[in-house]
């Protein structure tokens, strides 16, 4: 049993390597599809270079070597934490990304918490109060959650809360460690905009999962033993029903992270998303590459963690990946 879980974890960890390798290949070669070389783009804003400077620049930008060599060099530097230098600011890419990562992650985590805190209790309630009207309402609310564009919700929030000073984080963003309360207050609306749609989806999954579990024999046995309804629901049913819900939540982190990128733009928050958009408008490819790599790595790790939580919680470890949604 134990060794089974261990082997499963090892297997999943190993399977990360080709995926991350593939991600790096895609990120590297897609960027090279862009017409015009990085050197031309760099020179576009600079004065004329002398012949010697050109040779040196060509060496720095790798135009004197084959593309595969460049890829291997690039990968080697990545592994040492060197993500290259921004074409616009001349600064190192990785520290810039890392300084903005906490805000985006905080938004994602807060959005996830909001989704779980709203979604799970509502889902349990819905599974207990069944009648045709509530069932349809639930379904429609769940689908509506899938249908709401996060950036539109955010815009509406800006509209409705623009009279309340301090709730819309504009201009001076306050970090969590500077002033935690103020920070959470500022991020509340943005994370609501990101997470509320997922809350509706989680509600629906919780309800369906609860209904499935409540029909099982061991629940009937527990009820027949004379246990109180409350203890059956929370002690027996919820414990098993929650597992698929956690999986759905985990696999939707990518959706939340993507949401964070857009929402940062709406609320003018200085996170990774804004950095990414700025880099895209400026055609600053090293920065774009770095951000895509970092987010993809986080996404892959979160998916892995979700799989592992599932595997450890469910003794029947399902080895296929069919539960993915995003």
């Amino acid at each position: 049993m134990e060794s089974n879980v261990g082997r499963y974890i090892a297997k999943r960890l190993l399977s990360l390597i080709p995926v991350l390798f593939g991600v790096s290949l895609i990120v590297f070669f897609l960027v090279r599809l862009i017409p015009g070389s990085a050197l031309q783009m760099y020179l576009g804003t600079q004065v004329e270079a002398t012949a010697e400077q050109m040779v040196e620049l060509k060496r720095i930008f790798g135009e004197d070597r084959p593309v595969l060599v460049l890829y291997v060099e690039w990968l080697g530097r990545l592994l040492q934490g060197d993500f290259g230098i921004s074409l616009r600011t001349g600064r190192e890419v990785l520290p810039d990304i890392l300084s903005r990562l906490p805000l985006s992650l905080e938004l994602t985590v807060m959005a996830l918490l909001i989704a779980l805190l709203f979604g799970i209790p509502q889902g349990i309630l819905a599974s207990l109060k069944r009648n045709p009207f509530v069932d349809v309402l639930n379904r429609v609310v769940g689908l509506l959650g899938l249908s709401l564009p996060q950036f539109w919700l955010a815009a509406l929030m800006v509209l409705f809360f623009s009279g309340f000073r301090g709730w819309i984080p504009m201009g001076n963003y306050v970090g969590f460690f500077q002033d935690p309360l103020r920070n959470i207050q500022m991020l509340l609306l943005p994370s609501l905009a990101i997470g509320i749609g997922l809350a509706a989806v989680i509600m629906r999954y919780t309800r369906n999962s609860m209904l499935e579990v409540l029909e099982m024999d061991y629940i009937r046995t527990a009820r027949a033993k004379g246990l109180r309804k409350r203890s059956v629901i929370f002690g027996h049913a919820l414990k098993n029903a929650i597992l698929p819900v956690i999986t759905v939540a985990g696999f939707n982190t990518g959706y939340l992270l993507g949401g964070a990128i857009v929402i940062e733009e709406v609320f003018a928050l200085p996170g990774m998303g804004r950095l990414a958009l700025y880099a895209i408008y400026q055609r600053d490819y090293p920065v774009i590459q770095g951000i895509v790599l970092v987010i993809a790595a986080i996404f892959v790790l979160v998916n892995l963690a979700t799989d592992l939580i599932y595997a450890m919680a469910d003794p029947r470890i399902r080895l296929d990946d069919s539960g993915r949604k995003s």
Binding site: L146, P149, G259, V262, I280
Partner: protein, 278 residues
Amino acid sequence: MIPRRLAKNGIALTGIVIVSLYIIVILVSFFWLPFDPVKIDADHLLEEPSLKTGHIFGTDEFGRDILSRIMKGSLVSLVISLSATTMGALIGVTMGIWAGYLGGRWDNWIMRIADIIFAFPSLLLAIFVMAILGEKTWNVVIAIGIVYIPQFARISRGAILSVKTNEFVRAARSNGASAIFILYRHLLPNILVPIIVQVSLALSVSILLESSLSFLGLGIQPPWPSWGNMLSSARKVMVLAPWTAIYPGFAIVFLVLGFNLLGDGLRDILDPRLKNVG
């Protein structure tokens, strides 16, 4: 048989009605629009919705009629989401069914590629592809279509695995049928159900992706209207003129909801095993 069950399924029917309404709007917009959706009208800037002026959804910061722009934008949204979904489905299903049918090393390689695409969150992947290809309308289709490849590949591979061990496959093979014939003539029709359901869900997501891209300035470029870029330009003026932000958003929500209702209802009808899940 299926049409009758569709008619009886309230959820799917509502979805069909909503989507049909949009199709009617598009058809109407070919022949008639209340106002010119791109012409700037300096006399009617940010006019609030009113029956008297004829601008029933109001006008934007260039004096353009919001309703006309929403109508024009529905064509863009639907065409892009249909094309992107078709592209993702064609490539993904082809990859998935061959991976599932051939098995072994082929399966491994094909699905690895799908796994790698799947390692990017969808919106990020679409943004990344747009950043590289540049902001052209057809690039939006490619950027969104790529997102669906792994999803369709996984679903169709799984479905092929569950039907390929059937007797009729062995019978066809012993009759000397080729792999292509077996796959497309015998197996594909048997796995259409999960693919159709996925198509309608993909349609809904691609409307959201397109509007997000356009909202960020990476999708459909102004002055051509799309719901996303309308919302984008509304941001600057929406506190003064909320209607510029409210109506295009509703246009997105209802169409996406329509596809979601349709997909959900179709799943009930086509896949009775999931019926009780509701």
